[in-house]
Symmetry: C2
Subunit: 489 residues, 2 copies
Amino acid sequence: MEENKEFEEKKPQDTEESGTENNIETQEYEIPEKADYEAEIIDIIRGNEPAYVKKEKLNDYHENDIASVLEDLDVNERRRLYALLGLDRVSEIFAYLDDPEEFIEELDNETAADILEAMEPDDAVDILDELEEEKSEELLQLMDKEAQKDIDLIQSYDEDEIGSKMTTNYVSLSLDLTIKQAMKRLVEQAADNDNISTLYVKKEDGTFYGAIDLKDLIVAREYVELESLVITSYPFVYDHETVDDCIEELKDYSEDSIPVLDKDNHILGVITSQDLVEVVDEEMGEDYAKLAGLAAEEELEEPLSQSLKKRVPWLIILLMLGMIVSTVISMFEKVIVGLPIIVTFQSVILGMSGNVGTQSLAVTIRVLMDEELEFKQMLGFVFKEMRVGFFNGLIVGSISFIFTGVFIWLVRGQQFMDAFAISGCIGVALALAMLISSFVGAIIPIILDKIGFDPAVASGPLISTVNDLVAAVTYYGLAWVFLINILHL
Amino acid sequence: MEENKEFEEKKPQDTEESGTENNIETQEYEIPEKADYEAEIIDIIRGNEPAYVKKEKLNDYHENDIASVLEDLDVNERRRLYALLGLDRVSEIFAYLDDPEEFIEELDNETAADILEAMEPDDAVDILDELEEEKSEELLQLMDKEAQKDIDLIQSYDEDEIGSKMTTNYVSLSLDLTIKQAMKRLVEQAADNDNISTLYVKKEDGTFYGAIDLKDLIVAREYVELESLVITSYPFVYDHETVDDCIEELKDYSEDSIPVLDKDNHILGVITSQDLVEVVDEEMGEDYAKLAGLAAEEELEEPLSQSLKKRVPWLIILLMLGMIVSTVISMFEKVIVGLPIIVTFQSVILGMSGNVGTQSLAVTIRVLMDEELEFKQMLGFVFKEMRVGFFNGLIVGSISFIFTGVFIWLVRGQQFMDAFAISGCIGVALALAMLISSFVGAIIPIILDKIGFDPAVASGPLISTVNDLVAAVTYYGLAWVFLINILHL
């Protein structure tokens, strides 16, 4: 909660819209009740009005809202609804379904294929991928050649290639058109196309030439040449580029759509900003899952076996690493037996070094994702992480030196000097372990990235366990040398 | 790396575009070199051609690419470039700058204010927020009333309210227009507006009536009524809703833009899908940072003091919690002294329970963000997490029972029965701790969410430390009861 405070920047207000309420907490600020669109839609569907009135009324609702009510209807109501709304609207609604399989399954194959055919190909692929392989193949065979070709193309890409995220729905114009002809071509294509904000221009040989902003076309005077509206150095991506590699670029351009080309510069499709929202969401979700030591992101409805499959691999690796840590600790049996009090603080040292490492790791991964760093910047970054680690260690080490010193002296009844020798050892070990952990948390993802691995595989739990090792050696080593061998405690 | 494999779904290809290369690894697949737009732009700027030719050539490049080269130019080159390109283009370029402050600082206030005035208000706010308070105030005073009003409005919202993310740039139409008049109004407004894909219709009293898809207007026949194109139950959000509350809804609709209304249903602005990309990115970045135990997301260029401020608070809380764990462990001094071998495996038990807890936490936070769960679903979810924890514990516990048993028997030279009694204790403690940790990792964020806190504040390190406590009690408790009191080892 408190975290947000530093971002808040309250300004004196002089706009009428949100006048005096400024000092009232957001939560208490009265947000009006919204109409319950879903309830309204169900009322219309179940009402007694003639079909054409129902259809008219339902036209005023967003496909996403209609999609949300499908699961509240029974099979017959759904069938009647589809008939009422017509194929195009139903296909748009299906694109919004969270779990389209069940609704596809209850249709005959012909109808299902028609619906999928009328959808944007990338949405159709999303649904087909959810179906059984066999069913998916059957439906695909029933679609027209055009739709099949688009779907095959999108399915031909690996999940991590940007081509798999594109839609093949875009408006293209040829360069020799006049403004008026271009507008006419646009109107013709607009009916079948959702993405008309940016229009793409091809050369005579069919290769990508550039893009026209729809706005520029609309406001253009009739006598100017179409060519003058074209941005020829418009950004694009190649179909086989990985999502990881081009996502930052796509975000930076913040365009309505960016074309996807094959290696011969023919335009295959576009990535729309709606696609980009999904891609960003997925990519970050994956990184987020990996940071937490999951093999991949999990869904709510996932079966137990899937969940186990995503979690067990890391756990077994971590168990093995943990065993190494425990073997190292067992080498310090003299310290354990001679100074059991040292053992009781082991969890603090190991825990804190893990925490610091996880922080460094998270910062490093985000920096690696967002920026292309040169070697010098990289060094500077690692150095900065170490400075952060040093000062964190200094602060936390000092606090724990005083705190545990007093605790051991007064509560555990050790002599004053001995108590502070022990707490000194704890404080120094803590500070050292935190310094080294910051370094480890920063350098491991950087090295992974350099040798071509996804830095996000260096999960937090992995870094924590590696740092356990570092911290255990530092702590018990110090205790053994300083407390046992030098001070003979 | 391996994680992606399960998502890959290679299909036989029959499209000509990506024919035979399918089996070649993505990394090896030849992705053509892209033209270096930035180098080209610099060459043009530094070239000897007359100004009008330069301007003509630069018109073909995207503003984002021109923005990227600004830092490679010197002050005079930048000044000449601004003069060449004109105010509108320069303001678009400035919207793409990562660190606009320095470029704003080198301009006189008049010019800077003109540039900001010509930008979309939300982009201008982003820049003003980066400047010193005083400078920002000066520039604001120099802008025209219209721009000031828009900027004040956007700045009046807290960072976590959706109003702070909107742009006030949108096209509005009144309901009484004919199709032809509406097109004319659109052309008039399009010149100053970037967001024309969805047009907003107001009632006579100025309240929000609905939305028209630009596509529908373009393909509409002239004689139909404008009203028939309007989707009246179009989704919208209220200005003071929190980003957290409405982001899932905004994503679900996957629209080009969604209007932001005040509580009297007047439209104040729109959230475009480009805004949404940014918002999703920010929100997930914040959650990601919190999961790793950072108070907020960090930037590469951030000063040391800022980084410390974001990391130290959690570390101190975790230190205190760690001290509690160590106090609990110290209560088992008899186990420590009597069975030092138990101590050497402490790090494994605590570490693994922390890891399991972090996994559960990450899954739970994502589920809470993505779905509105009812109480029953919530229970089901927690129960599922516990089942995952149980089976994870069973698998990992069994492995470690056998593995450590053999290890203690053969390497540490304990008697066979004793060795497996100890390893049994370790295995059972591990399984139990993992079960409980899954529960803790799932229930804590759910409770936080229920009582109105952001569940993401339950960071991984926090959950790990809480689970350390659980694991320590379980492990040492079991060892004390079973090994010391029953078996008298």
